[in-house]
Symmetry: C2
Subunit: 164 residues, 2 copies
């Protein structure tokens, strides 16, 4: 995995990305006005950013509470054997569970994987843990932290670090 080639972006591109990060529902006209451009070059820039893969995808964020999904859990998982096969199998299983919003392979002695899962309630979580996670081969340790308050939750990146 070679070092990613950085695209050359000017301030206008960054302003576009910044605006879209926080409000993906903006129309091209609104976006154009926000960044001080007429609609046509604005649209062309967005197309370029999509073609370059800098804009990965659009997501629609739903209200979990209003859908009866009241429990979010952060799970730390450790594996007994660190073989590529175990890891591949674990990742494949985990990726197939709709409850899993995030799964990262991380450094650290306490855990190999960090997961964020969403379920309706404790019962649902117990079921998920016992019937799905702990049944995956190689899972040796599980530690759960329950989310009490969501202070920050966004996909927005710190674009202030990006060179122009």
């Amino acid at each position: 995995m070679r070092k990613q080639e950085l695209a050359k972006l000017d301030r206008t591109d960054l302003r576009i990305l910044e605006a879209l990060q926080h409000n993906g529902g903006l129309t091209n006209q609104q976006l154009a006005e926000t960044v001080g451009l007429s609609p046509s070059p604005c649209s062309r820039r967005v197309q370029k950013l999509e073609a370059a893969g800098i804009i990965l995808k659009r997501e629609t964020v739903l209200d979990a509470r209003k859908l009866g999904l009241d429990l979010t859990v952060i799970i730390q998982i450790s594996m007994d054997r660190h073989t590529p096969e175990r890891f591949a199998n674990f990742e494949e299983k985990v990726a197939s569970y709709p409850e899993v919003q995030q799964c990262y392979l991380v450094t650290g002695q306490e855990a190999d994987y960090l997961l964020k899962v969403v379920v309706p309630d404790i019962d649902g979580y117990q079921h998920f843990l016992l019937n799905k996670i702990t049944r995956i081969e190689g899972v040796s340790g599980v530690h759960s932290s329950f989310v009490m308050r969501r202070v920050v939750d966004t996909a927005a990146l710190p674009l202030n670090y990006v060179e122009t």
Copy 2:
């Protein structure tokens, strides 16, 4: 904070939400075809879902690597005193840092807060930690886990649990 009143949604609403979750860039026409509806009732349903707050917002997801943001870190933070003032101050500070994508107040003895932050590299992380996080009053313990691989990363909720 009383129990959230669940909206009554039929299968069509759920199909709309499911489609939009994974592809917020769908046009209303594409969405209508996906869920087997003509464009007008489809548009009206989406408007209702937005008005009801079930659709919270649209986000545009960017490629961190292509922007030179190569390091994602999960930070566990513990506080020395669990007073509301300390917590409020911490949360206010944390919410103002663009590097912070997520911050949750969680249960557990190891940590009070779990953060996910994005920075360009180790240097940037060190700077963030020393000049921002550890300077917040009350922060007594910090443990960092570095993300090596992103297995799953989505905002999509498990709508299979939602009653129709």
